[in-house]
């Protein structure tokens, strides 16, 4: 005979309990079950706090706390009137970041100690913009965003000019405040370039040009 059946026969007297006792026992067990659910819910909530804290960790840090001042090199590396590509090691990296921790940026020395330092990332979707010295334009390979030498938007899908790093000249060294990838979320949405050289003029001219021209991309003016 199956041991389980034996057991149930052995408990025969229990079944003889009056219905009132059985229902009292049932309601007690149902209560205990509900209590156990509540206990588990509480344990779950306690566990959820560190889990959610862990998950949200990267997002809880203040954006500016990633940034620190780093050197891009001595002033003599940057001839006046030229725009050069400079790579820097991101101040916040892990040892397994490899090459992804090396970030390029465009340094434009306007004159003397007047600089502009542009992020490599197009303000449209973050692709790497390239400087063309002859036509004095930054061009983006992804969707054809174009910017003037001062970073102002020239044409294409970007809604603003190039992102700029805060910079300062300390002694003979050009320093920038870097650490976080620039996106529309951490750089003001429609921001005029930090350094206004011929930018105001270009922006005004563009605005004047753009307003009366609801044309298609390929139409000629």
């Amino acid at each position: 005979m199956d041991p389980m059946e034996q057991n149930s026969q052995g408990e025969q007297p229990v079944r003889a309990e009056p219905d009132s006792v059985r229902s009292a026992k049932h309601s007690r067990r149902a209560f205990l079950f509900k209590l156990s659910l509540a206990v588990n819910g509480a344990v779950g909530a306690v566990l959820a706090v560190p889990i959610i804290g862990y998950l949200l960790g990267p997002a809880m840090k203040k954006g500016s706390s990633y940034n620190s001042w780093i050197s891009l090199g001595s002033l003599s590396d940057f001839p006046e009137g030229e725009t050069r590509l400079v790579n820097y090691r991101n101040p916040v990296t892990t040892s397994w970041d490899g090459q992804t921790g090396d970030i390029p940026c465009w340094v434009r020395r306007v004159s003397g100690t007047t600089f502009q330092v542009f992020a490599i990332n197009c303000a449209h979707l973050g692709c790497p913009v390239r400087w063309f010295a002859q036509s004095k334009l930054f061009l983006c390979p992804c969707h054809g965003g174009a910017y003037y030498a001062d970073g102002a938007r020239a044409s294409g899908p970007p809604e603003r000019g190039l992102f700029e790093y805060e910079h300062k000249v300390s002694g003979d060294t050009l320093m920038i405040s870097a650490g976080k990838m620039p996106t529309l979320a951490n750089q003001a949405r429609v921001d005029t370039p930090l350094t206004q050289i011929d930018g105001t003029d270009a922006t005004k001219r563009l605005m004047a040009l753009e307003r009366p021209e609801p044309r298609c991309g390929s139409c000629q003016g």
Binding site: I120, H143, E159
Partner: protein, 499 residues
Amino acid sequence: MPGLKQRGLELYGWFEQRLGLGTPIIEMAEHEVPENTSSWWYVFGSAATVLLVLQVMTGVLLALVYETSASHAWNSLQFLDHSVKLGWFLRAVHGWGSDFMIAVVLVHMAQVFLFGAYKFPRELTWIIGVGLLLLTLGMAFTGQVLRFDQDAYWGLGIGASIVSRVPIIGGWLVDMMLGGPIIAGPTLTRFFALHVFVIPGTLLAMVGLHVWMVLRLGINDWPMPGRVVRKSTYVREYDELTKKTGIPFVPDAAWKDAIFAAAIMLSVIACALIFGPFGPTGQPDPTIIQTAPKPDFAFLWIYAVLAYLPPSLETPVLFIAPVLGIGAMLLLPLIGGEGEKHWSRRPVAVLMLAVIAVTLGVFTRLGTYTPWSPIMEAWTSDPIPVAYLHNRTPLERQGAIVLQNKQCRNCHSVGGAGGLRGPALDAIASRMTEDQIIRQVLQGGGNMPAYGNALNPSETTALVRFLATLRGNDLSPAIDASRHLADSSETPATPLTEH
């Protein structure tokens, strides 16, 4: 060998007594389905499932070698391709399996939509199917990230830039996506966790639900014009149909699924053998900026749409369109749960499907050759056709040099070579007068930057003189009608008469 067979049966019996799964599985396989569901149109769902199994298997095999660190992931793929025996083939099968899976899932969805199979009582099956489509695309995107190359790196940049446009919480979402301040090690590991644990786990569970509902509710009967779905009668009608024309699913209907699945698998293997694995392209080194990042095939259409949206519309479209699109797909069976199933009685549905398919196709096609992107090397690599320099004055030839040096070719093609972002210049003088060309070059406009700061007066003169000679196959030059009226007493003076 009757003894062996007997022993085999005994072994089966031993397990069956404890598991009790064999009988229900056999019953499930042999359950009756209406005869008209045995169709070559009804094979895509099972093929997608088989492809999923293939992806899981090849994925596990690739994980034996793949190194999940930003500094070594790319090298480990090179190692897989060149140093691990048949590693390239496994990568190729996984990559092509992914493309085939997206294609088969889309075809399956189109077929279900066209056949009205999402109608009562299969609404939830469709809704879960929409989730499966999104998860499949999620697998494709995260998989593309794990192929940690240049395209993956800048693709992450594009993803982060899109996410950053979300109002208010954009910056927070970017941090969550990248796992740190920049695209780096923590970014790769979180996409690995998504690609290997989170999404496949959810995908498998939802495929289980999807298949369970197909078994429970029956395969959609072949739609007939006039056979209308009503909630009150459908189940009874379906049961009657099954009783009258029922055939066992295995083997009478399933053989078509099996043959199609085999054909798809063979196609994947053939593509893997012939075309090999995808990438990896260049190293994920952001300092190498000589690159034109591009997403994988399934996302090319989004890449194209992002090129054509006007800047002011981009952010709203990016976030409102997917909500509307996915919302419409989810609501479809709840709103259109009854009525005609046959395509001949649902012209709007057929039209919608056609429009969506053509739209996706056109944008994908555009994405393959990106006419909106400047060709960065065109100014040094594509010469001016010799014919365009014949019988030109020295000044005009100087202008041709200016055209090259000022990188005009990056956006404008001449003689069929060069960028497609701006119009071809071969017949520009037949469309614009010299004055218009000067204005356009110096001030820009439309989609063209202003070159006033980049050209000195003599360069401008030379360039415009050269452009004024470009009139295609000797088309007549563009004429300023107002000037013609004003100067009507004089003979029209044009500098192009010598040509």
